[in-house]
């Protein structure tokens, strides 16, 4: 419900006009300094190059960009650090922009923390996985490769204090993960479908870091914001629209009213009760009404 309605025309807000606002530019300037102009330009270029992003709710683009700015990750598809990806929110009937960090973005954030000596990720081909020990870890030999078949994905990091961690998931495990957490993949489209390899590598890296690495505040925010529609970049209020295992339902008021009337007709016990509802019965429920009427009469005649 609106707080105020005024009979004045409201100017449509576009992503371009939103980023042209002085307060937005000032905020970006405060966060990025001299790089703010080029950052805004890169965001607008990405929006313009994608038809769905052009239709995205401007605030969602803004908040996704703000998170990238906060994390100081460039939004450039070729760099692979961070992305703004459109998502069709069918329950709301709008397109929203979601923020995604690439594997390279996570590496960047990890290195910035100053705690990592090494961090990497790779696909694992048939023949390269030497042993799997749930207690002592995995052993790989990347000089061997029996075929081009990718059997899994691995990530590794070593901290300056000597601690190291290897995380491996088989392709089946990654696939199961994607089916569980991505509704678009389940339906046969989206990021996982378009680039399974890249998403798999990011997944093993992200899981390795979040489970075993000391996470800086920046890294924690990054993990929280990844693949989310950012409702408020300052409070990190996010929504994982692709993650939802909800059946997408569009609320149709007429359908709801029809269902309501049908239920009332069903619970009528007398023709008098039924006749009270008759004025509301449209063509689509005439038959249902008549059947109920006959049922009640049939019961009376027994």
């Amino acid at each position: 419900m609106s707080n105020l309605v005024q009979n004045q025309p409201s100017a449509p807000i576009t992503t371009k006009s939103l980023f042209a606002r002085q307060d937005v530019q000032a905020k970006m300037q405060e966060m990025l300094g001299k790089r703010s102009t080029s950052f805004i330009t890169s965001v607008l270029q990405i929006v313009n190059s994608n038809d769905l992003l052009k239709k995205s709710e401007p605030n969602s683009v803004y908040h996704a960009a703000m998170v990238a700015a906060t994390l100081d990750l460039p939004i450039n598809n070729s760099l692979g650090m961070a992305y703004i990806v459109p998502f069709q929110n069918r329950s709301k009937g709008i397109v929203e922009a979601s923020f995604q960090i690439g594997a390279k973005g996570f590496v960047q954030l990890a290195l910035r923390s100053g705690q990592f000596k090494t961090i990497s990720y790779t696909e694992v081909y048939e023949g390269q996985l030497v042993s799997e020990n749930p207690l002592t870890g995995f052993e790989f030999d990347f000089t061997k490769r029996n075929s081009d078949k990718v059997i899994g994905y691995a990530s590794y990091f070593k901290l300056l204090n000597g601690f190291e961690s290897t995380y491996y998931m088989s392709t089946e495990q990654v696939n199961k993960h994607a089916l569980r957490y991505s509704q678009t993949y389940k339906k046969g489209y989206g990021q996982w479908k378009d680039d399974f390899d890249a998403m798999a590598k990011k997944t093993v890296l992200k899981l390795n870091l979040s489970k075993f690495a000391p996470l800086s505040v920046e890294m924690q925010n990054a993990i929280q914001a990844d693949q989310a529609v950012i409702k408020d970049s300052e409070t990190m209020d996010v929504s994982y629209t692709d993650n939802s295992d909800a059946k997408v339902v569009t609320i149709n008021i007429e359908d709801k009213e029809t269902e309501r009337l049908k239920r009332l007709i069903s619970q009528c016990k007398t023709t008098d009760e039924l006749e009270i509802l008759l004025p509301e019965v449209g063509d689509n429920l005439q038959l249902f009404y008549q059947e109920k009427h006959d049922e009640i009469l049939g019961n009376l005649n027994r």
């Binding site: 005024q6 409201s10 009332l264």
Partner: protein, 315 residues
């Protein structure tokens, strides 16, 4: 140019105007100061020797108070609005002049919007009669809104009052008066079972009191009801809660966390109520019409418009 007299309020936000300021009004300060002056003048009058230090001090105080009173008298009819109301009016000004509004969507309002029709169905089933939402917007010179349900046992449809329609909004006279036995109902879909049953013990929410007074004014209803409904939370919202929980519990792989899975089961239970009879999922609270409250609402709206005109650039 912003015509403040055309600024109208929605029933859901009218309560924000009704907050009284904590400080004394300029008029009260003036009257209190007059009393202080009279007291001091009386004290001065009782002193026989006007050359004493006490008398001289009193005389000096009396002069100062008289000077203050000049300004206090000039300002005694100045607008006296609470700070929270002032803040709200600045938001409204931004909305009216620059077409920008604060995003107030929360998980509670989201659920309310998504299950509104289901709540009306529950209400309908419990009452045993077919009820539809109004879906028409009505306005008078002060407020504009869409009441959820209007029931009239005499079957006088609100729209048969031969109202004019402008841009899809029905124009209601300010003095619509009261139509006997007409009832306006506002549906409230509780977020979960705990907030639902709290309604049995809580005092009437003041925001809802004013909201219903506004709807009664707008629809000519003689009374109103709040209908609290307990409806299953849409799966998408429950999923969001599960995700938030996952983050809070620090769980990266849910399949490996029985505690998380158990907590998710609890969440599912907390948000679905098919096992509860429909009669127990509806709480009705009667709110009688209060014409003096409606008059007060009107004067607060006028005051609010005046405040905007005096404090903001309406050019």
């Amino acid at each position: 140019m912003l015509d403040v007299d055309k600024i109208k309020f929605s029933p859901s936000s009218v309560a924000k105007l009704m907050v009284e300021p904590k400080e004394k009004s300029p008029k009260q300060v003036y009257l209190d100061t007059v009393q202080i002056l009279e007291k001091k003048q009386s004290e001065y009058g009782e002193i026989a020797n006007k050359e004493t230090k006490k008398a001289i001090n009193l005389a000096s105080q009396i002069e100062k108070i008289k000077e203050q009173l000049v300004e206090l008298k000039a300002n005694q009819d100045a607008l006296h609005i609470a700070k929270t109301v002032q803040k709200y009016l600045s938001e409204m000004y931004v909305r009216a002049k620059y077409s920008r509004r604060k995003n107030i969507e929360t998980k509670y309002t989201t659920k309310g919007l998504q299950v509104e029709e289901d709540s009306i169905t529950l209400f309908s089933m419990v009452l045993g009669r077919y009820i539809k939402s109004t879906r028409s917007k009505f306005e008078n010179d002060y407020i504009i809104g869409t009441p959820d349900i209007v029931l009239d046992p005499n079957d006088k449809d609100l729209l048969t009052l031969k109202l004019n329609e402008i841009d899809g909004v029905w124009q209601v006279p300010n003095d619509l008066g009261i139509v006997a036995d007409r009832l306006v109902i506002d549906i409230k879909s509780s977020y979960d079972i705990f907030t639902f049953f709290e309604q049995n013990v809580k005092d009437l929410n003041q925001t809802y009191f004013w909201q219903l007074q506004a709807y009664m004014w707008l629809t000519g209803s003689s009374s109103a009801q709040l209908a609290y409904c307990l409806i299953n939370t849409p799966i998408a919202l429950v999923s969001d809660e599960k995700r938030r929980l996952q983050w809070k519990m620090g769980v990266t792989d849910p399949d490996q966390s029985p505690e998380y899975m158990e907590a998710c089961d609890e969440l599912d239970k907390l948000h679905s109520y098919d096992d509860i009879p429909k009669e127990e999922r509806l709480i009705l609270i009667d709110v009688p019409r209060d014409d003096s409250a409606i008059e007060k609402m009107k004067s607060k709206i006028i005051e609010a418009r005046k405040y905007i005109a005096e404090n903001f650039n309406c050019e």
